[in-house]
């Protein structure tokens, strides 16, 4: 391709953007709004997932040992724990430490527990965390039968509920995102089609003058890519600054809510959005022009 022709393509695209300024602004606006919605919901899903992960990781299995368990038997159980890949971490809590903790939990009413030191009714315990919440129940079952183990507990009801909840958050989030993605693409395609539709006579005339399909298409393609990129740039800027603003105020007022604030991840996401805008713009014009090239 000759340099002159390439210059022509860029000049055409730019001129078209400027002369159809109103249409250009509208297209950029639609892309910006759509990607804003998409990006925003992506971040929400990401954060919901994060909160769910956080909740999950606070679920633990307590393995209560029998009073008569010997140190060797305890060591045996510990070795078994070390051997299991699903175990993320574990601690051994002696009966003395357990009582200590209980007193702390009771706070000012700890007098209730006075006198229990002599005849401590609490057992020695292994507290185990798994990597994933799904592994809790199977793990518990592995230890239930053992001779030295008195009882295994993991807040049965709560774990199931948590699992269901996090499952639902993920499904709902994914569905929302897919729906929004489809909606955004649909909106942008519609806008670009309308804008090409408003200029179908022009395309037709070009073809009658002997322009090849690519000669007609390329300026539109560049125009679409530029509009898509401009729109996604606006949305990315808005999301980026808006998000860190929100994160900061949430971290001040709701310090207990864990927010995703990994700057690299966010930037990756923003890059994805920019690329998506470019792609949508390009695809939109390609598809839209095609209809009118058949002259």
């Amino acid at each position: 391709m000759r340099l002159r022709t390439i210059c022509y393509y860029f000049r055409e695209a730019l001129q078209s953007i400027l002369r159809n300024s109103w249409l250009s602004v509208a297209s950029i606006g639609v892309v910006a709004v759509s990607l804003l919605i998409l990006g925003g919901s992506l971040l929400i899903v990401l954060n919901a997932g994060n909160v769910a992960d956080n909740l999950e990781s606070s679920v633990e299995v307590s393995i209560f040992l029998k009073d008569e368990a010997t140190p060797e038997q305890i060591k045996e159980i510990e070795n078994k724990l070390i051997g299991l890949s699903e175990v993320a971490q574990y601690v051994f809590v002696t009966k003395e430490k357990a009582l200590e903790e209980m007193k702390q939990d009771f706070g000012e009413e700890k007098d209730i527990l006075a006198g229990l030191e002599e005849k401590n009714p609490l057992p020695d315990t292994f507290r185990v965390k798994t990597h994933m919440v799904e592994q809790v129940a199977p793990l518990a079952r592995q230890f239930e039968g053992l001779a030295q183990v008195d009882e295994v507990r993991y807040g049965q009801g709560v774990v199931e509920q948590l699992m269901a909840l996090s499952h639902w958050v993920r499904i709902a989030g994914l569905t929302t995102m897919v729906l929004l993605g489809v909606a955004a693409v649909f909106l942008i395609a519609t806008t670009i089609r309308l804008s090409v539709f408003a200029r179908r006579r022009e395309i037709e005339i070009m073809k009658f003058l002997g322009a090849t399909n690519w000669f007609v298409r390329l300026p539109f393609l560049l125009e679409g890519m530029f509009l898509g990129l401009a729109g996604s740039f606006i949305s990315v800027a808005a999301i980026y600054y808006g998000y860190f603003l929100i994160i900061n105020s949430i971290q001040v007022s709701l310090p207990f809510v864990p927010m995703v604030s990994d700057r690299d991840l966010i930037i990756l996401l923003m890059e994805g959005l920019l690329f998506l805008g470019l792609l949508i713009g390009a695809a939109g014009s390609m598809i839209s022009v095609r209809r009118f090239l058949k002259v």
């Binding site: 001129q15 002369r19 006579r201 022009e202 070009m206 003058l209 002997g210 000669f215």
Partner: protein
């Protein structure tokens, strides 16, 4: 140069715009296409530059069967033809200069060539002073002249002009006729549909008369009507 063999064109709705037309145009000829409104003049021209496909029959251009042309060869056919459309078909978003330059850019002409040729053809049709106007800011006759300059700027081997003087006064029309005559004498074939009976009768060129989609007369050095 151009041959039509038993060409029939039916439009949807059962309208027979051309009915079994066979004709041959030679290189360098100047042909007037005449006939009443709706006779099929524009349709015949549309078949040559492939705006429409014949329902039956063949159209041959420079030995090539246009009817069988592949889609991606069509642009190269059209670049050999300069067209003046009955409804002008100027690009509304481009100035007069850009409209004409566009026809050259398609063929990959250099910026220098464009800057030389466009003012030249605008001068020929008397519109040098309107180069930077947009088409909708021109009078009807001016738009028509822009479409004529666009048709001739690439020095095509064939010019197809549909009613090129319909919106022009007699003086300007004659000026343009002399321009077309000049071009034709340099070897370009010209097919012109027109209702300007005075021009046709005075120029004494080949006259092809259509009526109801059929050729009813084909006369060398003819007049507008018998």
């Amino acid at each position: 140069m151009i041959q039509l063999f038993n060409v029939t064109k039916m439009y949807p709705g059962g309208i027979k715009a051309l009915d079994d037309v066979s004709i041959r145009f030679k290189k360098g000829e100047f042909i007037f296409l005449v006939g009443p409104s709706g006779a099929g003049k524009s349709t015949l021209m549309k078949l040559i530059y492939r705006e429409e496909h014949p329902t039956r029959g063949q159209v041959i251009f420079n030995g090539k069967n246009i009817t069988r042309l592949r889609q991606r060869e069509v642009p190269y056919l059209r670049r050999k033809i300069g067209m003046v459309f009955q409804d002008f078909r100027l690009l509304p978003q481009k100035t007069v200069f850009e409209n004409i330059a566009f026809a050259m850019e398609i063929t990959g002409a250099s910026s220098r060539e464009i800057k030389r040729a466009v003012p030249e053809v605008l001068e020929m049709v008397g519109l040098a002073h309107k180069a930077n106007e947009f088409p909708e800011h021109l009078s009807g006759g001016e738009q028509q002249r822009v479409s004529i300059s666009r048709a001739i700027v690439n020095r095509p081997v064939l010019i197809i002009a549909d009613e090129p003087t319909g919106n022009l006064d007699p003086d300007t029309s004659w000026g343009l006729m002399n321009l077309f005559l000049d071009i034709s004498q340099r070897g370009t074939t010209i097919i012109m549909a027109t209702h300007a009976w005075d021009i046709v009768s005075n120029m004494k060129k080949r006259v092809v008369e259509l009526a109801g989609g059929q050729i009813v007369r084909d006369e060398e050095k003819g007049t507008y009507s018998l």
